[in-house]
């Protein structure tokens, strides 16, 4: 479905742009239709840059992005615009991804109008249907983003992404700003929608435990490179790289008591 081949992104700055920062270094990944690749790494490892390159929101310095067999890196203008609805991004912070001056209704209507997906008479029903799909009540429709909770905002952002029936979603730390119980709600919602509409997801997070729950395979990113890739089972139980081992220890080490909870759940 989506293939990234030998992607490199170099940022230049300073006098004569001589100082170079390599954000992404020769990365190749691919995701099959309906599957989720979890991309894990610490802040500054290049994972968000890679996610944006996959959607061609950022141009790579070199390498190829293929979406459903089409070379995205060469597409231009209307051809690219035609593909845009099929690939969407869900951002970390719904406070900055929703326009504070638009009501939920206006915010939801915008992509539907632009893409000609609903006329004025069916708009209301479409929006309510989408909000219902993400578990939101219809009375929210005339509120502004500041009048609803963080979890509700992220659901609106998700509904907006889904309104275009995308095939591929980049979810960039979609629950980092949410509470534990709200995080669980949003993540299981994403999972159930993926099942229903066969979505392909690139799931970016620094939280290995979240990644484990969401992904069919995991890629570990460090200093711009993918240092290890495999099934959640392999990465978590047999990490090969020293860095991955540290990451796993850091994510699960302090939560030794969690093992007990798992045991309890298994028993009950």
């Amino acid at each position: 479905m989506i293939e990234l081949e030998e992607i490199t992104k170099v940022y230049s700055r300073g006098f004569l742009r001589r100082q170079k920062t390599i954000a992404v270094n020769n990365v190749s990944i691919s995701i099959k239709r309906g599957k989720t690749l979890g991309l894990v790494g610490e802040s500054g490892s290049g994972k968000s840059t890679l996610g944006r390159i996959a959607l061609r929101l950022i141009e790579p310095s070199s390498g190829t992005v293929r979406f459903d067999g089409i070379d995205l890196t060469r597409l231009k203008g209307s051809k690219l615009r035609k593909l845009r609805p099929r690939m969407q991004i869900l951002f970390q912070d719904p406070d900055t991804s929703l326009d504070p001056r638009m009501t939920i209704r206006e915010c939801m209507a915008e992509p539907l109008i632009i893409s000609n997906r609903a006329g004025p008479e069916e708009m209301e029903d479409r929006i309510l249907g989408l909000l219902g799909q993400v578990g939101l009540q219809s009375d929210l429709i005339d509120r502004y983003p500041f009048e609803i909770s963080g979890g509700q905002k992220q659901r609106v952002a998700l509904a907006r992404v889904l309104s275009l029936d995308p095939d591929f979603i980049v979810a960039d730390e979609p629950t980092a700003a949410l509470d534990l119980s709200v995080q669980a709600q949003v993540l299981s919602l994403i999972k159930s929608i993926q099942k229903k509409s066969n979505l392909t997801i690139l799931f970016i997070s620094h939280d290995l435990q979240v990644i484990e729950q969401m992904s069919d395979s995991i890629a570990v990113m460090h200093h711009g490179s993918i240092i290890e890739q495999g099934t959640p089972q392999d990465i978590l139980h047999m990490p090969m790289e020293h860095y991955t081992r540290n990451l796993v220890a850091a994510a699960y080490g302090s939560d030794a008591w969690l093992g007990k909870i798992k045991d309890l759940r298994a028993k009950s």
Partner: protein, 331 residues
């Protein structure tokens, strides 16, 4: 004024005092009044913190946990209507004049605030910022204060403390900035530390380092009141847990027992929501603090809710050793 040789050696933390009630909170209510509504942020909280306790207050955004911390520091805004009692070492903090609160802050009770880029003054060298409380409390002269800051930065893991003291906050990484915030809280050697989400926004590895640092350097004989929504952090640092939901305490008890055998349906739900427990969700959302349900505040989301739960508000009840829960299931 009598200046101790080193605050570290000033034996204010008398070992015999360990286990005595240091902070007593009774019937604490904090109500914010806006033009149209009354928001009950903290509602009738009773809590005793003993000397040397490491107590974790856990709960989700908006449940009132940060407001609790602010009330203990006397830092709530003027539109907050506070009633009840917060007693620190016998003194009532809520009726205390501001001049006394100023003497307390930093010296007796200090805060490690949430780590964000705007917590520290961006145009002041961190060494000067850390020294400020020492000078304000007239504990040291400027030269001595500088030495003390450098000694403390060294103890908190800065390889070159002299150089670090001369830097500005933006020159540090998130983890190093967290160490600066810890230094700022520890500089006057306070008896109580209130830590509000000390590791939010840090990478996993850095977080573990900071947690170990807090455990080694901050707790010791000191009393720690940790405010967090991260169960892992609370279980690592705290021996006792207090679970808050919609402005009130719903469960307390020793950390290990609460986490391995939670009583309140909300605590159970919270543990089941953990990614590692399989992301089982609690249905619905927390009630708005301006329109709280009449009965149990969790009843609308509770799978075990009975008829009674919707009508009556459950009181806090002793269940077993040192454990309390606010739920009719344990009647």
């Amino acid at each position: 004024m009598n200046i101790p040789d080193s605050l570290e050696n000033a034996n204010r933390n008398n070992p015999e005092a360990k286990g005595m009630a240091l902070i007593q909170i009774a019937g604490l209510k904090v109500v914010f009044s806006t033009r149209s509504e009354k928001i009950r942020a903290v509602d009738t909280v009773d809590l005793t913190i003993n000397e040397g306790d490491t107590l974790g207050l856990i709960g989700e955004s908006g449940c009132g946990k940060t407001v609790m911390g602010m009330a203990m520091m006397g830092l709530l805004p003027t539109n907050a209507d506070i009633s009840g009692i917060i007693r620190y070492a016998g003194k009532d903090l809520l009726t205390a004049p501001e001049s006394m609160m100023q003497k307390m802050r930093g010296r007796e009770i200090a805060m490690i605030s949430q780590n964000s880029a705007n917590t520290l003054n961006p145009v002041m060298k961190v060494g000067d910022q850390i020294a400020e409380p020492l000078l304000i409390h007239h504990l040291y002269s400027a030269d001595e204060a500088k030495k003390e800051v450098i000694r403390l930065l060294g103890a908190l893991g800065f390889e070159d403390p002299v150089q670090a003291a001369g830097r500005y906050p933006h020159e540090f990484s998130g983890g190093m900035r967290e160490r600066v915030l810890i230094a700022l809280a520890l500089i006057c050697n306070p008896r109580v530390i209130i830590a509000d989400e000390p590791t939010s926004g840090l990478d996993a590895e850095v977080k573990i380092e900071i947690l170990h640092l807090i455990k080694e350097k901050v707790t010791g004989n000191r009393t720690l009141f940790l405010i967090t929504h991260d169960l892992g952090t609370a279980s690592f640092l705290c021996t006792r847990l207090v679970v808050m939901y919609a402005g009130e305490i719903v469960e307390t008890g020793p950390t290990k027992e609460v986490l391995s055998r939670p009583f309140h349906p909300y605590t159970k739900g919270l543990l089941a929501s953990l990614p590692s427990a399989g992301l089982n969700t609690i249905p619905g959302t927390s009630p708005s603090p301006s329109s709280l349900p009449a009965g149990c505040r969790f009843s609308e989301r509770c799978i075990a809710a009975m008829e009674r739960c919707r009508k009556e508000h459950p009181p806090m009840k002793e269940v077993g050793d040192n454990r309390q829960v606010r739920c009719f299931l344990y009647d």
